[in-house]
Symmetry: C3
Subunit: 158 residues, 3 copies
Amino acid sequence: MIVDPDLRYRIHDLYAAYAACLDDARYGEWPEFFTEDAWYRVVPRENYDRDLPLSTLSLKGKAMMKDRIYGVESTIFHAPYYQRHLIGLPLIDQHKDGIVKVEANYFVTRTKRDSLAEIYSVGKYLDEITIRDNDLKFARKFCVFDNDIVANSMIYPI
Amino acid sequence: MIVDPDLRYRIHDLYAAYAACLDDARYGEWPEFFTEDAWYRVVPRENYDRDLPLSTLSLKGKAMMKDRIYGVESTIFHAPYYQRHLIGLPLIDQHKDGIVKVEANYFVTRTKRDSLAEIYSVGKYLDEITIRDNDLKFARKFCVFDNDIVANSMIYPI
Amino acid sequence: MIVDPDLRYRIHDLYAAYAACLDDARYGEWPEFFTEDAWYRVVPRENYDRDLPLSTLSLKGKAMMKDRIYGVESTIFHAPYYQRHLIGLPLIDQHKDGIVKVEANYFVTRTKRDSLAEIYSVGKYLDEITIRDNDLKFARKFCVFDNDIVANSMIYPI
């Protein structure tokens, strides 16, 4: 199915806005990119490829996402760092039933205070987007990352 | 305001051309991306967020930009290095008065001769673009970078 | 010549699909992105700029590409690694004769098992694309990379 140009723009904008939200550390707005019962999962590529369920992070539903953000902002003890996302051109697969599947590569850098930037996570998003009332939301967002080792711990969403 | 598709393409092309100009080391062409009285500023995120004026580089007007390039090409003693830009999908905010605000993440690598490439600067462009006589120019370009520490010195524009 | 919007989308999709093919390690599909007599070349920037013929890899025609992939998958002894591509917004130069010239920056990371990701190759694609029977193929793909030093050896295509 040919991708509608207008949808293409809106998907570009969705990913740009998603990156800006996280990179600006506006974490409170992050759950708003998802549907109520969305599944957000960060999973090593090795596990994903073998269909193993173990994930670095798996949040089902917006309530869990808000809880995670509460943790990030209020209870998890961690050294703060900046994130910066670069997201590649998305591969868009538009279905008739209103679900859009999108695949897009990403690089995320981490920059600790008084430090150089370093490559933190690289992988691809495997996403499902729903369109309701002219609004695009992630119904599923899997971040499948190449690097089996995570530098220290992963605090902020990818 | 909905972004006009044609404008969207032209902004994509502007950023691609900007990156190519710098990465091809065609520094003499770089000031031509700006209006006569444009402000080009490279500023650490920490200072930008706190509204502190100190910048790593702040050039007001094309004349200062040309002077900087003269320095880069003729007077600043430095070990040469290659730059390579990757610029993310731009967030475009089109205003009625002919000003377009654009935000876009960037990664720049530096590669010194006989070396591996390294992450040099990561951050976001906060830009204002004017359209005159069907021509897009930067009236303001702020490069807000995450890495408080700059590896050695910053010679070329970002 | 103004780039046709539909062509622009298709070029975006071509690069996204090219990256996905290599990053998913579907190497057998890689030669299908090229015309029968295409030239694929990976060349250091220093050599390219001086017009020197020496390349890190130079494959002329699909048969050589298939042979390379046979080597990659069956005969070259190497420690496996993941690749991940990010490709910048393409600069498109559409000619009347059906040839499209495209320039696009790229970063490729390499991730060895149980390791962090590292910047592996950065450079630009200098490509020529032909359109036949509504199908886009690379007639020429030059990967001009900045880093004179390649970390270990280069096994997979860039």
